[in-house]
Point group: C2
Chain length 377, copies 2
């Protein structure tokens, strides 16, 4: 990482938070951003949960990396999630590296970065930590919670924990339980990081020799899973990288090779390898049904939250069947649930790119729910 | 690698072989094995091409690794590819590490291992090199050529190069042209290897400090692609590895993690990292249609070879659509072609495991073709 985290907006969570692993943390920072204005009735607030490598900078520019926000396709003035109308909140997850409490922070007890001494966290821990933001902003009930991928896991966990704190919820391209392939792909990324000698069992902060190679390989592996076979073929196919024929070498002959290398290279400038380990681990541990005696449907029993579940036809990382399992559980619990599978070749990344049908679906759902919610007692 | 290659059966190819990269090689070894007996008429010979990490030890024990052959499910006495009936030949590919000419061999010009000085090879080069085995054994026409994955690419290339040298052909779970996702996955593996500091630009043979970590990560990535989502879920799901609950650590909590780590660990004992680079590169360069002005169907024009194309329904690495492209081209060239998609959850690895429908399909095709072939003039 080559950025500096200063002057980031954050709260210090002073209430003790008992983590799933058994440890208790307190007085820890949660960094967040907001977009738009909270109205007087405080009924136009939407909490967005970010994915594995996301951060709180949803829209506009990210002042740390000097790049655009990660969801400018969906969030902004006049956009599907309209910042002229809604008050958007997004926090960096617990374990992250963009200002929230994470493994690169200094442990005041010994003045050393935590590294692997940081407690292993869960999606539940992340959600509990973010709930403090709502307390801080004095928002008793959100219009909606939404997020894609790991963000969707947080949406489900939030609804299960705080059934009365949101009017609606949109888990996108997500799952209620990480399956074997999803765990395998995260483990692959972790092994890539941990087998880089510079990782040094997580102690690399002082030397500033960070495990860039391993983290870049992890990112490349993940990036392949974010796109569909067809999407990759349409975008890259067998196109060569600024050459007329094969060079018979191990340089990037194909555009797809050059693209992957670039993705790895830029990623390591903005992300902490240990954060990748911790956050991916939290995803693997996520199995919402495990928290309830009678399975997943119990998680949503007697809820009034209105759900919209969205999946993408070409997403093979979190395929439609994962979303359908959520829909089935919600139906079994008598919940108010809508489901949309968006037809697209853009794979798991569909929620992050310009996908008109998807954006229209979200906008319609939010706007109609806002009409109902703002007229409630 | 911790095995010794001595007393391996091999031929020395004395004819100069002009490689696609422009270099010419000669007096190089091609290691091979045979199973069963060649009959008097020499019409019961089958040439099997191995996949990326395979070798010539198809059936019985591999005397080098002391493990079973890689295709004992299909090849052996009374099996689908019956060694009581047929004479099976399999050669280690050019670029490999099991006795054929590869990057770990010593360059007699400077007494150093080739490493990255080894020429970049193609599937076509591999096939040409293996054709020497047929000359050596004085077999003018094979009953069949078959192979899965990269083996299937060699089958297609063999038929295109030598239309009169085989009576039939079975490309299994393969493709006529490596696509963007397939290239991306190979590039990921190469990056994992090349970013291991011990890889040292391919010069690791003298120090015996081989890039095990990088090669293991490459293997783990590949292994995930060999299985299907459903297959992984049925076999591993979220089962824990000899523990009752999460350990909140980065050890292998889940069985799938432990399994992947094991796959990586055992692989590096038998495979050379540079061979992985070279062979995967050959796969990426494979685009059979590129060799013909009028596209893929020209590759098979005026051929009498009888083709059986096989794909597996849950294979997402070389999906059925890749096989269908071959079928379409063969049909367009007026070739004799049958096609079977085997329904299975076992993914790309289906051809290597016990899959009765698949084995029955191969057996039926080989046996009926042998009846015709042996009665030919």
């Amino acid at each position: 990482m080559n950025y500096k985290i200063e002057n980031i907006k954050k709260i210090i969570v002073t209430n003790p938070l008992k983590l799933d692993c058994g440890q208790t943390i307190k007085d820890f920072p949660i960094a967040y951003e907001t977009y738009g204005e909270l109205n007087k009735k405080k009924n136009n607030a939407i909490l967005i949960f970010h994915a594995l490598t996301g951060d709180q900078f949803v829209a506009g520019d990210n002042p740390i990396t000097n790049k655009g926000g990660w969801w400018t396709t969906a969030v902004g003035p006049g956009k599907a999630i309209d910042t002229d109308k809604y008050f958007i909140i997004c926090a960096n997850v617990l374990g992250g590296c963009m200002g929230s409490f994470g493994p690169k922070d200094i442990n005041t007890k010994n003045n050393q970065p935590y590294g692997l001494k940081f407690p292993v966290i869960t999606i539940k821990d992340m959600v509990k930590a973010q709930e403090s933001i709502l307390e801080h902003l004095k928002i008793s009930k959100l219009l909606s919670v939404l997020g894609g991928s790991m963000g969707g896991m947080q949406v489900l966990q939030f609804c299960a924990l705080y059934p009365d704190k949101t009017f609606s919820a949109i888990p996108i391209a997500s799952t209620a339980s990480h399956n074997a392939q999803q765990i395998a792909l995260n483990e692959l990324a972790r092994q890539a990081i941990m087998s880089d000698p510079l990782w040094n069992k997580g102690n690399y902060y002082q030397d500033k020799k960070v495990p860039k190679n391993g983290l870049a390989v992890a990112r490349m592996a993940a990036h392949i899973t974010y796109m569909s076979d067809k999407g990759l073929q349409e975008k890259f196919g067998r196109k060569l990288q600024e050459k007329k024929d094969y060079e018979f070498s191990f340089d990037a002959d194909f555009q797809i090779e050059s693209y992957l290398r670039h993705q790895g290279k830029v990623f390591v400038e903005r992300f902490d390898a240990n954060s990748y380990l911790y956050i991916s681990r939290a995803m693997d541990y996520f199995d919402l049904s495990k928290q309830f005696k009678n399975g997943l449907s119990e998680a949503f029993q007697n809820h009034n939250t209105k759900f919209l579940i969205i999946s993408f036809s070409s997403d093979w990382l979190y395929p439609t069947k994962n979303s359908k399992e959520i829909v089935i559980a919600l139906n079994a619990s008598g919940a108010n649930v809508a489901f949309a599978e968006i037809k697209t070749d853009k794979g798991h990344d569909s929620f992050l790119v310009e996908e008109p049908e998807f954006l229209k679906t979200i906008k319609g759902f939010l706007d109609s729910n806002f009409e109902i919610f703002k007229n409630e007692k």
